[in-house]
Amino acid sequence: MKIIKLGLFALSLLAIASCDNTLDLAPEDSLTPEIIFSNESLASNAVNGMYSSLQSSNVLNGIPDSMGEWQSDNVNFVGSFPTFAEIRDYSTLSDNISVLNVWNSHYLSVNQANMIIKYVPGIADPNFTQASKDNMVGQARFVRALMYFKLSTFFGRQLKQDATGNSLSIPLVLEPYQGVVNKPARATLNAVYAQIEADLKFAETAITNTSKVMATSAAAKALLARLYLYQERWADAANYANQVINTSGFSLASNFSFYNNPSTEHVFQLVNVSADAGFAESFAKLYSPSAFGGRGDCPFSQDLINDFLTEPADLRYNLKRSGTDAAGNSSLFSTKYPNGTSNLDDANVIRIAEMYLIRCEANFKAGTTVGDTPLNDLNAIRTRAGLANLGAVTNDAILTERRKEFCFEGLRRMDLLRNNMPLRKASMSNSADSQPTANKVLLPIPQRERDNNPNLIQNPGF
């Protein structure tokens, strides 16, 4: 009996140091979604984090917008990255890593937005008002719409090339990753546009934020105006552009010092400050010659110079500097992103000038004068650029004005496609490959994605 007692005592000794709850250990710096989405303050930090993800050079900080510029006719890409050169040469292959990075980084941001959209409404924080929740969800839906809008321009046929809108665009993922790997198929352009519109319509009313370095109700309206322009819904486009123009705090800046500065010009400006993470292949690295800390990859194309030289007094043509390009030649570079060393130039995601030109074009195409006449809107832009007023509006005049106003800001490629024009003129290299319905005007669905998701159908020609 004594032996059994002693044995039991001994066994109980074994338990001295054993304590199961000690295994409930959490990391001290990274936090789980349960914690992040437990109160307003933490949730608002997730919103900041979402914007932080947009700072990737593969999202809003340079690469995709610049790719469009050199795939079309604004930039003479002379850099050494073969994956960038493939896009310039219309020889893109499905294993192009840069294309993959753009794809993955956009979906990474979509996931940030989806987490907020899914979890913020359910936060049981009595001080967290519905309006504040809507403000966050609205911003997340704006970001999601922006991501899908940007991706849809690259990976699928546009309406002008397939008016049915049934061409395959990109997969729509509306739920965050929750431990189950999803393998979505590509949605049609119509479905993508419908989702973008729904997200922006929500954002338009839900967002109360007024800081222009984040999404605002006006930014949602402006993006809707762009969407309607691409959809050729002229009345809606003119209406929404007009609403933005009439929003207080948004007006044409009097000169071009608004780049990299706060200004009434900006509708949504993604800013970069040194306390944020680094931006490796950002606008500044691409557009600054080596003497200014960049790589000198993206000088003006001769075609763009020629366009500017038709009216050389254009103040926008002053936004340039000479320098040695990546190929070792002396070239002209834009000064919209001048800080190649610090890499801290801001992305001009939406500007008020675009609203003037959308209202102009929509009124012109529809024969209306919502807000103002097309001629007045066009001349407002020209006046700021130091150019004489035109006497009449033509589609070509609008297109040219848009080119000069937004060169190196990523709008050129879609301006050409939505006018069913080739990305490059007949005199330029790869002209035949750049016809609006040519295969390699689109980017390939990345091979790695198709390897891991059999539901993805490749674009023709890849």
Partner: protein, 985 residues
Amino acid sequence: MRSKFKWIFTLLLALTVQFSFAQEKTITGVVSDANGPLPGVNVVVKGTQRGVSTGFDGSYSIKAKEGETLVYSFMGMRDISKVVGASNVINTILQDDSKQLSEVVVVAYGTQKRGKVVQANKVISSEAMENLTVLSPQQMLQGQAAGVQVVQSSGVLGGATVVKIRGNASITAGGRPLYVIDGVPLNDNLLTNAQGGQALNPLLEINPNDIESQTVLKDAAATAIYGSRGSNGVILITTKGGKKNQAAKVTFEQTFSISEATDLINMMDGNQYRRFKTLRGDNPAGFLFDDFDWQDAVTRTGVSRGTNVSVSGGGEKVSYYLGFGRNDQEGFIFGNALSSTNGKLTINADVNDRIRVGGNLALSEVLNDRVYAENSTFSPLTAAYLQEPWISPYDASGKLTRLPGFIPNVVAIESLDINDAKTTRTFGNIFGEIKLFDGLKYKIDFGVDRLMLEQKERSFEINSAGGYGYYNTSFQNKYVVTNTLNYEKSFGKSNLNLILGSAYEQNDITSATVEAINFASDLQLNVTSGATKQTTTSSTLNSRLNGYFARASYDFDNKYIFEASARRDGSTRFAENKKYGNFWALSAGWRVINEDFLKDSKIFSDLKLRASIGTNGNDRVGDFAFYPLYAGGAGGAYNGNPGFTNTQPANSDYRWEQSKTTNLGLDVSFLNNRINLSVDAYYKKTTDMILNVPIPGTNGFTVLAANAGSMENKGLEFDLSTVNVNTKDFKWKTSLNISTNKNKVLELPGASVGPDGNRFVAGTSQRAIEGYSVNTYFLVRYKGVNPQTGNAEWLDVNGNVTTNPTDNDRVIVGDANPDFSGGMTNTFNYKNFDLNILTNFSYGNDIYIDGQRFTDNLTNNFNKSSKVLDYWTTPGQNAYAPALTSPTRSIFNRRSTAQLKDGSFLRINNVTLGYNLDSQIFADSKFFTSARVYFTATNLYTFKKKELEGIDPEVSNSVGNTIQGETFFTAPQSKNYLLGVKLTF
């Protein structure tokens, strides 16, 4: 320091003083064994602390009273007791401990008698290690045990060591064994930064001189009781302790050594370089003439000293060991030095008949004056190889100067800059054991491993414009509580041993780093003085492990042995409902020698068959890899405001990597134990291997750390030890071990698919490919220079000759793992001389000389190997390099099999010649009992392929599982000559 030494000596001497009170007489005599007089035998008066050791002629002299008992003991011999009678002379003959029955082997959570061991383990005794002059415990294992491959990764002092037990069992998780010192599992996190090469060996703080033995646990029967950490094998380190009833024994050892590089690459000198550049078509107008021998400037003959002192002994109830070591090493690379200071204390005491307590405490400080290595322009050796030989580190006035090019002035860096890593570590354990009733003991053991690391760098104006400062501090705090119940019982012919236990481990690491540039003056040493702070960061790593374990050993009549062990481990590293894992092993042995039909065998002195099967886990993965996580910091900040981004996907199924091992073994001894052979065959399969499985990027993440892959290792191991000659004056013993291991990756679900349809995990030169070894080289085949055209030629994927290969022409061309490897030790004793020769070898492994892509680069402006001076000029010439006008000139150095070499080698690792001074010399002094003078040469010569001239075949530029046998200007190992004196008194 001098006063410290003095103090210690005083202490040591005080401990040796013995007082005698009783009426005693002096007993003398000679102790011998079957071969003659036996030195070093302990002679103790039972029940007292009085004791002596026999001298070299086997003689002893001790004071004792009539009626007292003298106990004679010697390792491997049976103890003999003799009662002191009227005679003043007692001669004794000790008998071999027949069949080594009583030899005790350290196993997990205890000891076992050698004869009853049914695990695959190998004990490396102090005898096998004592002649080695090494810096770390891992190096002591090199060439000593079958199935244990030890590769010293570089010749930089304190360089990391790759230890592989039975091959590579993982891809992404750690592949190194678990180290347990006196029952305390040690941390071996790499806390130091890599500095272009590799982090420092994390076990440098263990003084090899304090190690009594190391047991390598290989099969699951041996390791399953370590559960989640046993998959890569376990190394049990037992430190020295005192012996009961032994007079205080003081050993003092002093060494003096010099070291130099084993082999360096022959590069061009200034004249050769200018000639080469002229022929290449460079404009001589730009040539310089400040010729300088960089290799000579960054290498040297390093001078080192070492001191070790220990005192050990014991009385009837208490035994103790005190050790002190101090080592000052100078590496052969200019600027590389290491000094370590160690203290060690072990005490064991019987409180009464039931209670026993004890403890180990080790304190050490290691100061490493580091050099950058390998892939860094700050690396003295790399820079010396590649710096243009017409550039001098000195300006016209003879002062060190900043150099204009890509490669900085490494002479100035090593002369002026600060680059130190200082570690202070405390580890040890205390235990209490109580006998609850006959056969049942309870033991509680508390172990700690505390480490503080400081890393400090300061680069001055001449080397870094504006100056650069770096400071890192890491704290590691680990404690382990182990409770065990041990029950031992014999009934009839049955013997039973049970162990039941629990262990809890808590491990916390904190690290902080600051970094700055823009210093006003070189006189300012700390980061605080840099105007621009670059890094300010601190982080933690925390983990907990909670385990329950058991082992039951049973034997019937010492013939049929069965053992079962199990462990249940819970770890914070795994997902919520996968935290706990169960591991088990079963083994059986048959001691055939104890069967009647072999009992009287003249041939066999032992014969045992073993078989085991069991499982293990591998928890060497990062912390919290399963949690969905939001990370902050600069990565989550926007517009200067802090934020969080969702950076890690959830994986609720994240669990251990599992391995299952089957082992068959045979232990056989012949001719009265003169020939001992152990053979083991094993098959080990790793499943649930953690891989970064790619998932569609539309999920917001591109990879998921998931348990997906599987891999197998199978092999054969032979350990043979023989006594070849055993006469009075001359003895010759040999131990040889040799092993083969075949690694094969079975499945890599989700990984990329190669051209042959097999999935693979990519690396630059080697890949893990399904159906092949985890270290399979995948390269373009280089054919050579065409004697007719002077073009370098390769083979395309179809085997056709090409002068313009692409990455698509890569094929499987080799394996970094050897066909077989092992070691051999020969020990000769002739009268007072002894000679010990240790060789280690590896056969059939391919090594990749990454640096050759630079030394064979014909187009850039770095120095080149003098081999490329043999370039093609005339048709019919068999040249090393293509014509300097050939279009293949610019791709001659492309990654291909041109840089892949047969890495087979046989290295004369250690040769020690010792002379033991005749004890008669000391007979009068009554002070020394023995003295030994010895000379050791390490890495004396390495037999290797001729094409490896300048290359050390036994280096690795990574400790990672998937990069083995590659070198990028990895510092070769050093060749050392050491002179030592060891005094015992």
